[in-house]
């Protein structure tokens, strides 16, 4: 293994990917899709969620709630009465320009730690916030409180909903769903690019040429992994920027982005080692991409709506479910530590298993590489 050779192969492939119309299209697809999703969000009217808060102690719970929405604005109230006046009593009908109201007592966090179970008043405007989103907000507040003082239910959450929505009103945060979907699509790039690069070397017999140069078979594989990983991460970064995905628990979002890129890469490497023609690999990658993407529909707000039927349970057998779930939770600052640990463990474990199988297949191939 030699760094000079790895970088040489990566440089060559980086250029070749851009000169190849089909791989270039593959690279641009996630960006195009993210732009389309952004356009839909704008056209359909994913409006700014205005949150009126009375927060004398500058509690961090406010940012947790605002992170649950892709586009939100926090307005400070002067007193609890101001907030109450804008909303009114539970189940009443009242015109309000605010979607959410919060009254947070001073010293909220210290009261939580002292086990005093402080009361947080939450107002929901059913005209702007659907049932699922309302539940998400309440979960965000409870989760935040648990991170401050776990494990007992640490606060009293007094929720009042004005203009109560009908049970059928869904009220999805499209921006957040699209952000997860776009990011998952960007991970598919590795699944398509990696086998393409590897198989083309076999098809065009250039791998034989490489085997009589100072580059080893391992150098060839690592060079390709490097260039696809770099492209993949750049793409994911752009997609996240377009979709406003740098919210919530950002380090966790970035970790899932890295893991998702590695998963796509490992799966692509496996295909590249198993298949001998780009046509065969392309066909299988297409089907796998669909299965790969499917779990996006069963996480976050959509997942909560669909519940836990047998189909959803089957979807949970896919490692990409845990990846999508992790990203969704990280972006909305939802989910518990245990949940995040499960998502990361399953994704990481899947990457290790895929890499192990791909390495075994590639070692077998290395033994016969000259005969290719």
């Amino acid at each position: 293994m030699h760094l000079r050779n790895i970088l040489a192969i990566a440089r060559k492939d980086a250029l070749d990917i851009l000169l190849n119309k089909s791989t270039l299209a593959g690279l641009l697809t996630p960006i195009f899709l993210a732009l389309v999703f952004l356009l839909i969000t704008v056209l359909v009217g994913n409006h700014t969620t205005e949150i009126l808060v009375y927060n004398p102690g500058n509690s961090g719970v406010v940012s947790m709630v605002s992170n649950a929405f892709s586009d939100s604005q926090v307005i400070q109230a002067n007193s609890p009465a101001d907030v109450a006046a804008q909303f009114g009593a539970n189940d009443t009908h009242k015109s309000s320009s605010y979607a959410i109201g919060m009254v947070i007592p001073a010293g909220f966090e210290s009261s939580l730690r002292a086990g005093q179970r402080p009361q947080l008043s939450l107002y929901i405007n059913g005209d702007d916030v659907g049932t699922q989103q309302s539940l998400l907000v309440q979960t965000a507040i409870t989760s935040y409180s648990r991170t401050v003082a776990s494990p007992r239910p640490p606060l009293i959450l007094a929720a009042a909903t004005i203009n109560p929505p009908s049970d059928t009103k869904i009220g999805f945060d499209l921006g957040r769903i699209y952000a997860v979907a776009s990011l998952m699509v960007s991970f598919i790039t590795g699944l398509v690019l990696m086998p393409n690069l590897l198989i083309e070397e076999k098809e065009k017999k250039t791998l034989r040429m490489l085997m009589v140069t100072p580059a080893s078979f391992s150098d060839v594989i690592l060079g390709k992994l490097l260039v696809v990983l770099v492209y993949q991460l750049i793409l994911s970064g752009i997609v996240l920027a377009i979709q406003g995905g740098y919210t919530g628990d950002i380090p966790l979002v970035l970790l899932y982005t890295l893991l998702g890129a590695c998963f796509g890469l490992a799966l692509g490497l496996l295909f590249g080692s198993v298949f001998q023609t780009t046509t065969a690999a392309g066909g299988v990658s297409g089907v796998v991409s669909f299965i790969y993407f499917l779990p996006v529909l069963f996480v976050g707000q959509l997942g909560q709506l669909l519940g836990g039927g047998p189909f959803v349970q089957a979807i949970k057998a896919l490692p990409t479910y845990y990846m999508a779930d992790g990203i969704s939770n990280a972006m909305t600052s939802q989910g518990t530590f245990a949940n995040a640990l499960l998502d990361i463990s399953v994704t990481l474990g899947s990457i290790v298993v895929l890499l192990a199988i791909a390495t075994w297949a590639l070692r077998r191939q290395a033994a016969v590489v000259a005969a290719i």
Binding site: R4, K12, L15, L19, K205, M209, V212, P214
Partner: protein, 294 residues
């Protein structure tokens, strides 16, 4: 680096693929600066022998030393000392000629300016920016030779260098090979064109079913297998008719009477031509191998 006089030495080289023996006890040697031809029909073991000598595959038995490197034990050094032109045109089609060569410059840790030097050598400098997919077969072949020469290897392996080329392109490639040999490069080539081998190679070996059945200079092989006879062409009037035609007389040089007759004929003024009946390399090949070359 000072290289030994013996640049390629194969000793009882063997290679099996499952039950099939592709190379069976091949032994030969190639001197520095020599052009050595490996000739044989399809599936005879020519390409497998090249793969063994270039370290692409391990031998099942025997050993080989190329440019003072054992092909198994010194593989890393071997790769620095050999250039290989493959039978198939394995270039990066979307990349330009220059970028194809620049890539190999990176691999061999050479300055990128070397790419333009070898492009000059194969007269492709003016097409350096063009993608390889726009190149003719001859240009691709020249580019592959340029790529193999990039790191100035002392030994060059050419697998069917003229395959698929038109006569003009094939002649250009032959001229390039001759020029490299004059500069001291050791060249091992496989070809199915026996005329090309006869013209280019100082020595040739016939290989069939993985075994070398003949190994000598083309001249010696032709002498060994050719007939010792001459054909004397005489002007017709001396042959006793007025037709204006020519008459050919074949004389066996192992026959004392024919030797005397030749001496007698050579005194006459109507002798127009005398041709020795030397066998062609193709005839020798067919006689030695029993089949025509691929």
């Amino acid at each position: 680096m000072k290289y030994p006089d013996l640049m390629i030495e194969a000793i009882d080289l063997r290679r099996s693929f499952k039950a099939k023996e592709a190379v069976v006890g091949v032994s030969f040697s190639v001197q520095r600066g020599e052009i050595f031809g490996l000739l044989g029909p399809n599936g005879a073991g020519k390409t497998t022998t090249i793969r063994l000598l270039t370290g692409q595959i391990d031998p099942s038995g025997g050993r080989a030393v190329v440019a003072a490197c054992d092909v198994v034990k010194d593989r890393a050094r071997l790769k620095e000392r050999i250039g290989v032109v493959f039978e198939e045109q394995n270039l990066y089609e979307r990349l330009s000629a220059r970028n194809n060569l620049r890539f190999n410059c990176w691999l061999y840790n050479l300055p990128e300016s070397r790419a333009d030097e070898v492009l000059d050598l194969v007269r492709l400098r003016d097409r350096a920016k063009d993608p390889v997919r726009a190149f003719s077969n001859g240009m691709r072949q020249r580019l592959m030779i340029a790529r193999a020469l990039l790191h100035r290897p002392p030994v060059l392996f050419l697998d069917e260098p003229s395959r698929g080329l038109d006569p003009i392109a094939a002649r250009e490639v032959r001229q390039a090979i001759e020029q490299l040999s004059r500069e001291g490069m050791t060249i091992l080539l496989t070809t199915h064109l026996l005329e090309e081998a006869d013209h280019l190679c100082q020595r040739v070996a016939f290989i069939i079913n993985g075994r070398i059945v003949a190994n000598d200079t083309p001249r010696n092989l032709k002498l060994a297998h050719g007939k010792r006879s001459v054909v004397v062409t005489l002007a017709a009037e001396q042959a006793g008719n007025d037709s204006g035609q020519m008459q050919e007389i074949t004389l066996n040089m192992d026959d004392a009477n024919d030797q005397a007759r030749l001496a007698q004929l050579m005194t006459r003024s109507n002798v127009r031509a005398v041709h020795s009946q030397e066998a062609t390399l193709e005839e020798v090949f067919i006689e030695a191998v029993g089949v025509r070359p691929a």
